[in-house]
């Protein structure tokens, strides 16, 4: 492992040198003649501009695709939930994680590149994209790397006020890289003591899940240094019935719902040190054989206080099986209020946060489908959303 760490450090030094050389070269090199003489420009009757998007709608969905057979590149597709028109696309690197700004102005990718595609110098970076132009507008190098894994939403997050982006790292030491996205500056690492993932709990605090089923809570200062570290009590049995990583988290209300493989719901207040409420079960009488499962398997609609969960019929260890139905729960009454049959079984799902929410779901055959989240009515679907779309994001979630 020290070899690996040394490789990254030496690689980063190399990267710095290469960057410095490129800057010098750019300043000293003579202007490169235009490859195309101006006279070659074809006059046209019509203009041929590049479009700029309006402010993102809460009814748009951002679809992260890791492109499994070509992992060194990834994509983020943007679709309008009303009609499923493509609004645009962003290119990313190896096993990227996406984060949406609270003010809708930015989409960040925590991503990894090698200087020669699949080889060469490794660079881990948080890249900022303007959500209207979809142009990259800044980047912050992560000198300690990132956790390389099939993308999971909670490997990168923003603090409650949107100032700091936290990117989980296991390379192989466990930490959270802290990036000030206002200043676009790397601040440092928070030691997570063997715990993983990042759930925002305040303006300068974050929680991680530990291998023994408890939360670690870290408060940090403006320099990115931990000022307080707290360890909670185990709230689930990590050996017999672990909770899924893809908890339904609603940042504005600081509420989270962690689901276990067997179907227990752990409501968690993520306002400061996480407080776990009384657990309740998704399945009731007559629901034997049904389990939660998939990848991004749960979503919470804050306005209606509804929890949406992908469910399938299957035995133990079918926790990644695609959902056949979406079950809808009133989290206050802890009761199911609807069962939506999915026209196409889906492994990931989310809901928009507006008053008439849409439910988005993606299938293992790269189809995006959209349903009325309240009635379950199918509103449309679109095939060929890349090769392996995996995660879904909406504004305001």
């Amino acid at each position: 492992m020290p070899v690996e760490g040394g490789r990254i450090v030496s690689g980063l030094i190399g990267l710095w040198l290469a960057t410095a050389a490129a800057v010098v070269q750019a300043q000293q090199a003579p202007a490169i003649p235009a490859q195309m003489p101006p006279a070659a420009a074809q006059p046209t009757q019509e203009d041929h501009p590049t479009l700029v998007l309006p402010e993102p709608s809460p009814r748009w969905v951002y679809v992260l695709e890791p492109v499994f057979p070509y992992l060194v590149v990834s994509k983020v597709w943007i679709f309008d939930g009303d009609g499923l028109a493509v609004k645009g696309m962003i290119n990313g690197g190896y096993t990227a994680n996406a984060v949406l700004a609270h003010d809708k102005s930015r989409l960040w990718l925590a991503e990894t590149y090698w200087s020669r595609g699949s080889r060469g110098t490794r660079t881990d970076v948080v890249t900022a994209f303007d959500t209207k132009t979809l142009d990259p507008v800044g980047e912050v190098v992560l000198p300690k790397g990132r956790f390389l894994v099939v993308p999971k939403k909670h490997n990168a997050t923003l603090t409650s006020d949107g100032r700091y982006l936290l990117s989980f790292n296991m390379d192989p030491a466990f930490s959270l890289s802290v990036v000030d996205v206002e200043e676009m500056k790397y601040l440092g690492e928070l030691d997570t003591q063997g715990c993983s993932l990042a759930f925002p709990t305040g303006d300068t605090s974050v929680a991680s899940l530990c291998p023994d089923g408890r939360f670690l809570h870290i408060t940090f200062d403006a320099s990115g240094r931990a000022t307080k570290t707290e360890l909670g009590e185990p709230f689930f049995d990590a050996e017999k019935d672990p909770v899924f990583e893809h908890a339904a988290i609603h940042r504005p209300s600081k509420q989270g719902y962690f689901l276990s493989y067997d179907g227990w719901v752990y409501p968690v207040s993520l306002d400061g040190m996480p407080k776990v409420g009384e657990r309740w079960k998704l399945q009731g009488a007559g629901d034997e054989g049904w389990r939660p499962g998939g990848w991004q398997l749960a979503a919470f609609h804050a306005g209606s206080k509804r929890l949406f969960v992908l469910m399938h019929e299957g035995g133990p260890w079918t926790h990644k099986q695609a959902g056949e139905e979406v079950w809808v729960f009133d989290v206050e009454r802890k009761q199911r209020v609807a069962r939506h049959k999915l026209p196409h079984h889906s492994h990931s799902m989310t809901v928009s946060q507006d008053e008439k929410p849409l439910l988005f779901a993606i299938t293992e055959t790269a189809m995006l489908q959209v349903l009325d989240a309240t009635t379950g009515e199918e509103k449309g679907h679109r095939e060929g959303v890349g090769i392996s779309p995996y995660l879904l994001y909406t504004m305001g979630e």
Binding site: M1, V3, E4, R7, F68, P69, Y70, L71, V72, Y94, T95, T112, W114, G117, S118, R119, R122, F147, L148, V149, V150, K152, M170, D171, P172, A173, F174, D191, T192, Q193, G194, C195, S196, L197, S208, L209, C210, P211, D212, A238, E239, P242, V243, F244, E245, G314, W317, T318, H319, K320, Q321, A322, H347, E364, T365, A366, I387, S388
Partner: protein, 176 residues
């Protein structure tokens, strides 16, 4: 072709019954070390003979020993990802130009020819982009990534010269 492969990978998730019990028992012990050390441990071989074979038996019901390009080949009971056997390598040799990772998770598989249980190291081959052929995915005993030693979503190339995942190999350690 690619979509077919992806479909097969996903469909196989439900069918594959990989044996993970021994990994769990190994790593339950490591978990305590993990919490204190905060460094991902290299997985040791469980030679204690405490391996539970219930899941291996389940996989072995449909396992075969003739065709290593199929997901039900006996050594693949806990294998996740693209089979090196289909990518220019074999189950225990990395394809030309790729690097064998020294780290892995470990499964216990039963060879149906002799009924014996064997320990298998699922050491990835790294240094090229993902092979994309013969995906096999098991979820038996698989845990979320906050228990990284039991998670199959992680790029297990720690310690290799490159963290770029290429394919999954299945190297015999010995009898369980």
């Amino acid at each position: 072709m690619i979509l077919d492969a992806f479909d097969r990978m996903m469909e196989s998730a439900a069918r594959q019954l990989a044996q993970r019990s021994s990994r769990r028992s190994i790593l339950a012990r490591l978990g305590t070390v993990l919490a204190g050390g905060a460094i991902l441990p290299l997985l040791p071989v469980d030679k204690s003979g405490r391996a539970k074979l219930a899941h291996a038996n389940e996989f072995a019901k449909t396992a075969q020993t003739k065709d290593p390009t199929q997901c039900n080949y006996w050594r693949y009971c806990s294998s996740d990802g693209y089979l090196c056997e289909c990518c220019g390598g074999t189950m225990n040799k990395c394809p030309p130009g790729s690097y064998a990772s020294p780290t892995s998770w470990i499964g216990t598989c039963i060879n149906p020819d002799d009924g014996q249980a064997y320990l298998i190291a699922y050491q990835d081959c790294c240094g090229k982009d993902s092979c994309g052929l013969c995906p096999c995915l098991g979820t038996e005993g698989e845990m979320p990534s906050y228990r990284p030693e039991l998670n199959n979503d992680i790029i297990w190339c720690f310690g290799a010269p490159s963290m770029v995942y290429h394919c999954s190999s299945q190297v015999l350690i010995g009898k369980a």
